[in-house]
Every structure is written in C-alpha cells, then in structure tokens.
C-alpha cells in the first residue's frame, strides 16, 4: 500500500512536470524564432512580474479568471461545456452595475443585492442554453457560443441607449457610479498593516477573498453533497446516473443555470472593486481564458486557483517583453502550449494510473 501511495504522488508530479518542460520548450522556440534569447525573455518577465505592483495586478487578473473557471468547472463536472461564461458575466456585470446604482442599502446588504442580481441575470442567460438542450436537443456548446455574441451586442446596446449615465460628460460611456455602500472595499488598507507599501495604480480587489471562499463552497457542494454527487454521476456516466434515479434533463438544466449564476459573478471584481460602474473599458476574454484555467486546473478548486494565478502572472509579466522588443503576444503562445501539453500529460497519467491500479489489484488478489 505504501508503495502505491508513493507512486501516486510521483504520478501527480510527473504530469505537470512533463507538461512544463514541453511548454517551456515550445515557448522558447517561439522566442528564438524572433531572434531573441529565451533566457533574456524569461529573466525580464520574472524581474518585472515579481515586483509588488505586478503581483497585485496578477491577483486582480486571477480573481475573475478563478470565479469564471469555477463556473465552467460546474458544467465540465456534469459532462457539459458552458462556453458562454463570457456573455453571462458581461450581462451579470452590466445589470449588476446599472440596477445596483439605483438603490441604496446598508453596506454589506447592498453588495449582496448586486451579487444576487448578477447571478440571476447570468443564470437566466445560461438557462436559455439549458432549456434548448433539454427541450430541443440543441448542443449547449453551439447555443452558448451564439448567446455570447448576443450578450455582447445586447450589453453595448443597453449601455449606449438605456443604461448610460447622461449626467457626466465623458467619452467613456458608463453606467452611474455605484454608491459607496455598493463598492467592495479594497484589500490595500489591510495589506498596509502588514507592511506592504502602496504601488502606483495598485490595489487588490476585495473580491479575492470572496473568490477563495467560493472555491471552498464549490469543493464542498461538488464533492460532499447529494446534488454534487448526482452532478458528477451525470458527468461520468449519464446512463448509470439515470438508472440510479437522477433526472438527467433536470440535471442538465440546473447545472447550466447554476454555472451561469456563478459566471454572473465573474465580472464583479472590477465593477465593485475598481471602476464602480460598467463602462466600455470592461475587460473582454475573461470567459475564454477561464476555459483554459479550468482545463489546466482539472476542475479542481485548488488546481484552478494555481492555474488562475499562473495565467495572471504570465499575462501581467509578459507586458515587460515589449521592453526588450519581443511581442507581448508571446504570452498567448505560452498560455496555449501550457494548456495543450498539460491536457495531454493528464490523459497519459490517467491511463497509466488505471493500468497501475489493475496491476496492484492482480498482486493483491494473488497474495
């Protein structure tokens, strides 16, 4: 038994390690192709990325990635694929910002109310795909991609025509600024107490703490509750799940809606913590990068946390590549090669694990 555990640990490390070697090789080749030294590139990225200002930005980038990845992981675990997180979080953010500025509540309650609005909108938007799948057999992959386009257009239309705050004269169209009670406090004052100094343009989203808590909730619900079990059962063997009494159609619908509700929260760290409104500068692509985060993190809350941080780090630190004349888009190559090599490595390890277990079993039976 001890031996098995040792090899299990070795296996768990071998996969990511092999993936890291392969992806560093590919990224280095890409840098070499532009006649630059990969070692310089990595050194520049590391030096820039490990300054406290960059690390704060890394956390701010990682927070929405993480929440969005949790949303996607819900559907992965259920054997579904919600590509529509991008649209769901966008609509959640714009409705949350617009409606949230329309009322005033005591501090904590106000934030909760905005979150509920964002979750409701995101959930309803994703539920359309769930409904189409259950009632008409439309693939959720296709419908959520289409709903993304709709959400993009719809949010721009709503912002320009109905939600824009006409009392300010700014080029950047924006919803009305949230009242103080609806703003999520920054972590900076707290960090100051621990001796971290203010950085230009710095600050750490308070929703980082919320995201971590959400990760724990995710773990508990998925791994330790009846609902989570039925969701995972539907994902790993839908027929057996049905035979065991899971209402598969209902599960598809609920998983999609829940995923959308969580996705609705992913746009809020910036809205509640930085801009305090939804404006045209709202970041795009969170929902897509989060797919990679979920895949790399294997739908595991801790794994996704690490991969969100990794992607955040790469994204922020790669901006420094411009300083030494390398296209910062090299980051995209790094992200892609990490993802590809790790997905392959995981699969290899998974198969090897089953073989290994069968052998262990043969041994145990023979004894």
């Amino acid at each position: 038994m001890k031996k098995l555990k040792l090899s299990t640990v070795a296996l768990a490390i071998a996969g990511p390690l092999a993936a890291a070697v392969v992806s560093i090789t590919i990224s280095s080749l890409a840098v070499l192709a532009s006649h630059k030294s990969p070692i310089d590139a990595y050194k520049t990225m590391w030096d820039f990325g490990t300054t406290s200002g960059s690390l704060m930005q890394m956390l701010n980038t990682a927070t929405p990635y993480y929440i969005a990845a949790l949303a996607i992981a819900i559907t992965f675990r259920a054997g579904l694929f919600n590509i529509g997180v991008e649209g769901q979080l966008r609509l959640g953010a714009i409705f949350g910002a617009y409606l949230g500025a329309k009322f005033i509540l005591p501090p904590v309650l106000h934030i909760i109310a905005i979150m509920v609005i964002a979750m409701t909108i995101g959930g309803l938007w994703a539920a359309i795909a769930g409904y189409l799948k259950v009632k008409r057999g439309v693939s959720e992959v296709i419908s959520t991609i289409m709903l993304n386009s709709l959400a993009g257009g719809l949010s721009s239309y709503l912002l320009a025509n109905y939600f824009v705050d006409r009392t300010t004269n700014s080029n950047n169209m924006s919803t009305k600024t949230l009242p103080a009670s609806g703003q999520f406090p920054d972590l900076m004052p707290l960090l100051n107490k621990f001796g971290v100094e203010d950085q230009p343009g710095g600050g750490v989203y308070g929703m980082l703490v919320f995201a971590i808590a959400l990760g724990f909730v995710f773990w508990f619900v998925i791994n330790r509750t009846r609902f989570g079990f039925e969701l995972r059962a539907s994902g790993s063997n839908p027929i057996a799940a049905r035979f065991s009494g899971v209402n598969s159609k209902r599960m598809v619908f609920v998983a999609m809606a829940l995923s959308g509700a969580v996705a609705g929260l992913a746009g809020l760290p910036a809205v509640l913590g930085e801009t305090h409104a939804f404006n045209m500068g709202f970041r795009t692509g969170i929902g897509f990068s989060a797919i990679a985060v979920a895949l790399l993190g294997r739908n595991n809350p801790l794994g996704m946390g690490i991969s969100a941080l990794l992607f955040g780090f790469l994204e922020v630190s790669s901006r420094s590549l411009e300083l030494i004349d390398i296209a910062p888009e090299t980051y995209v190559i790094m992200q892609g090669s990490i993802l590809l090599s790790s997905v392959i490595a995981y699969e290899v390890v998974r198969r090897y694990k089953i073989t290994l277990q069968s052998k262990e079993l043969a041994k145990a039976v023979a004894e």
Partner: protein
C-alpha cells in the same frame, strides 16, 4: 497422428503474480484441443506465450517436434501458428480481400497483385468451407462473417496451428453452428486447433481433447468423450459446483408487484415493444422471465423501474406507481441489477466508494441529510467488499481496475445492502466465475426466504429453472407461456422461448 504443438512445464511469473506454473499440454494434428479454465486461471497467458507475445520464464515449446523460441508474434506466424482474436482486428472500410491480404500483400512490381491474391483467397475459402464474397466491404458483414475473414487472414499467412480465443463469445447460436462446422472442416484438412473457452457445453461439442487449467497450472488432460460438462466444471473449480436451486415455498400472501396490461407502444406505430403484460409477484417469490434476448425483457425492466413510458398499470405493494420517478421507485424499495453493469450500473473511473453511493444517494446510510456521510460510506463499502468477496485493495480502487466478476459482485452487494422488498435482477451471474455464481445464488435464496420478491431475467436456463418459483416466457414482447419450473427441462424451456412448441 503426430504432435503439432507441445508445451512442456511452462512457467511465467509477473511481479507478485504467478500466471502460469508448470503448464503442459500437447496438441495433435487433425484435432480440436480445448483449453478451459475459469476467468483468471491463466488461459490467456498460455496463449500469449504460444503466440510469442510473452516469453516463458522456464519450460519448452515444441512445434512439430523442434524446440522454438519466439521473440514476437512474427516468429510464431513464421512457425505456422495463427491466432483468431476475440476482438476482431479488421479495417471496416476495406473489402474482405483487402483485409485478408493486409500486411502480406503479393507484390507485382510495386503494385499489389490483386488477381493472384483473389485466386488464392477464393480457393482457400472453398477448400476450408469458409465461403465469403471477397469484394464486399467488411462494415457490411455480420459478426459471424467477420470472424470468417479473421480465420481466412490467419490461413492466408500459412497457419497450420490455429488458436481461437473465446471465439463464440460474440456469436449467436446459428453462427456458433457455422463456426463449429468450419472448425471440423479445418480439422479434416489436418490443422491443429486450440480452442479457448469457458463454455463447457460448446467445448464438449467441438473438441477432441480438453486440457483443464486451474490457478495457473494444468490439472487434467482428458478426452472429451470421456467427461461430462459437470465433471469438467468441477475440475475447473476444484470442488463441487454450486447448484441454482431454492427450497420450499416461501411465498407470502401479500402481492409486492403487480403488472396490469402493461404495454410499451412504439412511436412509429409498429409492433409494441411489450404488449399487455400482466402478472402478480408475491413477497418471497421469484418469477423468472425466459426469452431469447431482445424479446422485450429489457423493456419490461425499464417499465418496472420507471425508465420508460408505458400504458397500463404497475402497482408496488398495492399502490399505483405509474406517476413515480425512477428515484421515487428506488426509494420505495425497488432494487435493480441492470443487464449491462458497466454502462448502466457503474462509474468506471470513479472509486468503489462512489459506486457504493450510486442509486442510493437519496438517504441513509450514505447520506446525512444532503451531505455525504463519508465515514459510513467507507466502512459500508468495506463491509460489502468483505461480505461479497470483492477482490480489490480497498474502497479507493477505481471500478475500472476490477475484473467483470468482481464488479458484478459489488453491484449485487450494493443492491442487497438496502434489503429492497423487490429486486429486479437482469443476468445477475453473467460473466462471473463459478464461486461467485454460487455466492450470488445463495444471497438471492436468503433474501427470498426473508420475503424479497425477485424478478429474475437470465439467459442461463438452468439458473432460471433452478431459482424461479414460476416462469414466464416472453416472445416478441408478449408473455406466451407460464411454466412450472419443477416440471420443465431446459430443452422444453428453450423451445418455448423460440415459439417452437
């Protein structure tokens, strides 16, 4: 007659496991020699050694009297040994001819000499009684014909010694007859045939000699005309066989399950999948459903479980359950052992403890409210594994790592652990070894005595007759006969199933 192949004192160890220990057998030309043994007894290892896929640690292989050392299957093919695999290795979008010559194409310059190949294949097919159209695509062929292509492939490579690995596992009875005729034809042509199987009635039909292997060692070599299936089975197991049987009448007055005029119409309006099925099942009673597979048994199970829409009425403990979901029916106390365990009853890549929960996730003992009770689940999984002799290191083992028999024992254990008042059991002992079969029968007997009602569906006629209090025969979705198992022989039941009587 001369000896075609001889194995002398072959031993093979894998790390921690002795797969073969002192295996000896000798196969004469012009005979069919069966190698029988339980699953895991070491039959496949013997064949892999003979076919060059594995090398023995000690012992000798002789082909036509000369010692050989195979490094790989190519060496074995060179020595005129061929293997017909259980799982066919054919290219679907190639014709029969192309498949047969694939890998050893006759060359004509740089092109393939199809004309020569065709002549040879057609000749060969006629000679051995394996007629088949060489130009038809393999994807259009049935299983039996695909097997013919496999055999032709092996013969085309010049094999004189043919190994058949569980060849009948995938065939329907008619195809089995065809295969056996072909085997007899090959035997008449002086081929030596090694036939691996655990279906003893087939072995006795087709084989001249039988070598029995148990726990990695040969325990007997007998002439098939000198033994009965029962004696062979006892040699395989090494002890007396368990019997499917029940004692006395344990029927209680209350009716557990009642079907009233239950039909499953098809949308297209053609023949109903099951039609006007009506029967009562008392507590403590076993009703056996006999029928050739595909005559509505699977649909009947799905109707009882609520997995399929039906017309008519199904009552459980005198209450109409038509509107209840699968979950609700299970919670009321209906247990299910589905026919396809891997597809319908297990999450293969999940550990056993999660498989313990499946189907029981709505209440005690695995749940504490809406939260999994991990401690109970673990101890409970362990006790099921002990009680039902599921051979695996522990609850964390993945279901996929278990052998089919152990998976089945685990599923039976899981369903019995809840002591349901009705158990729907489809092929509860299919694919399990004799020892486990006996244990499962014993469990069913005990449950029946305690008042469990059982719907038993099986393709094993002796199991049906032995375990049932009453037999219903299904043909094309209709219950065509009700038989008393005490007065029914397997032959009578078999002809009732085909509608011949």
């Amino acid at each position: 007659m001369s000896v075609a192949v001889e194995l002398r004192h072959i031993s093979k160890r894998f790390p921690g496991v002795i797969a073969n220990k002192d295996v000896s057998m000798s196969v004469e030309t012009g005979t069919v020699h069966a190698l029988v043994g339980e699953n895991g007894a070491g039959k496949s290892t013997v064949m892999k050694i003979l076919y060059g896929m594995q090398r023995p640690d000690s012992g000798e292989i002789l082909v036509n009297g000369t010692t050989v050392h195979f490094k790989n299957p190519n060496d074995a093919i060179e020595a005129s040994i061929g293997m017909v695999h259980q799982h066919f290795m054919l290219a679907d979008n190639f014709t029969v001819l192309e498949n047969v010559i694939l890998g050893s194409e006759p060359q004509h310059g740089i092109t393939i000499d199809f004309a020569a190949a065709r002549t040879k294949v057609v000749e060969m097919a006629a000679q051995y009684g394996l007629e088949i159209d060489p130009d038809v695509l393999v994807e259009e062929l049935g299983v039996g014909q695909r097997q013919r292509v496999e055999i032709l492939k092996v013969l085309y490579r010049g094999a004189r010694i043919l190994i058949f690995d569980e060849p009948t596992a995938v065939l329907v009875p008619q195809e089995v007859d065809d295969l056996f005729n072909a085997l007899k034809g090959l035997r008449a042509q002086g081929m030596a045939i090694i036939f691996i199987s655990h279906k003893l009635d087939e072995v006795l039909r087709v084989a001249d000699d039988v070598t029995v292997i148990r726990a990695g060692s040969t325990v007997a070599e007998v002439k098939s005309k000198d033994v009965t299936a029962r004696q062979l089975a006892e040699l395989m197991v090494g002890s007396e066989l368990p019997q499917p049987s029940t004692h006395g009448d344990t029927r209680r007055p209350e009716i557990t399950l009642a079907l009233k005029d239950v039909s499953i119409p098809t949308k297209s309006g053609s023949r109903d999948l099951i039609s006007h099925v009506t029967f009562n099942l008392h507590a403590g009673e076993v009703v056996g459903i006999a029928g050739v597979e595909g005559n509505g048994q699977a649909e009947l199970v799905e109707a009882i479980m609520g997995l399929r829409d039906y017309t008519g009425v199904i009552e459980f403990s005198a209450a109409n359950i038509n509107d209840l979901s699968v979950a609700h029916r299970r919670d009321l106390g209906i247990g299910l052992i589905p026919e396809d365990r891997q597809r319908q009853a297990m999450m293969m890549e999940s550990p056993l403890w999660e498989n313990r929960i499946l189907g029981h996730q709505r209440g005690k003992p695995v749940m504490n409210g809406f939260v999994l009770d991990m401690k109970t689940i673990m101890t409970d999984t362990k006790s099921i594994m002990e009680e039902f002799d599921v051979r695996a290191p522990g609850p964390q083992t993945l279901a996929a790592a278990l052998s089919g028999g152990n998976q089945q024992k685990f599923i039976v254990g899981r369903e019995m652990s809840k002591a349901p008042s009705l158990l729907v059991a489809s092929h509860p002992t299919r694919g399990v070894d004799v020892g486990a079969q006996g244990a499962i029968w014993e469990e069913l007997r005990r449950a029946r005595e305690k008042g469990m009602a059982i719907v038993l569906i099986s393709a094993d006629l002796e199991e049906l007759i032995g375990m049932s209090d009453r037999l219903l025969v299904m043909l094309r979705g209709v219950v065509t006969a009700e038989l008393d198992p005490a007065k029914t022989t397997p032959e009578q039941l078999g002809s009732a199933m085909t509608g011949a009587s």
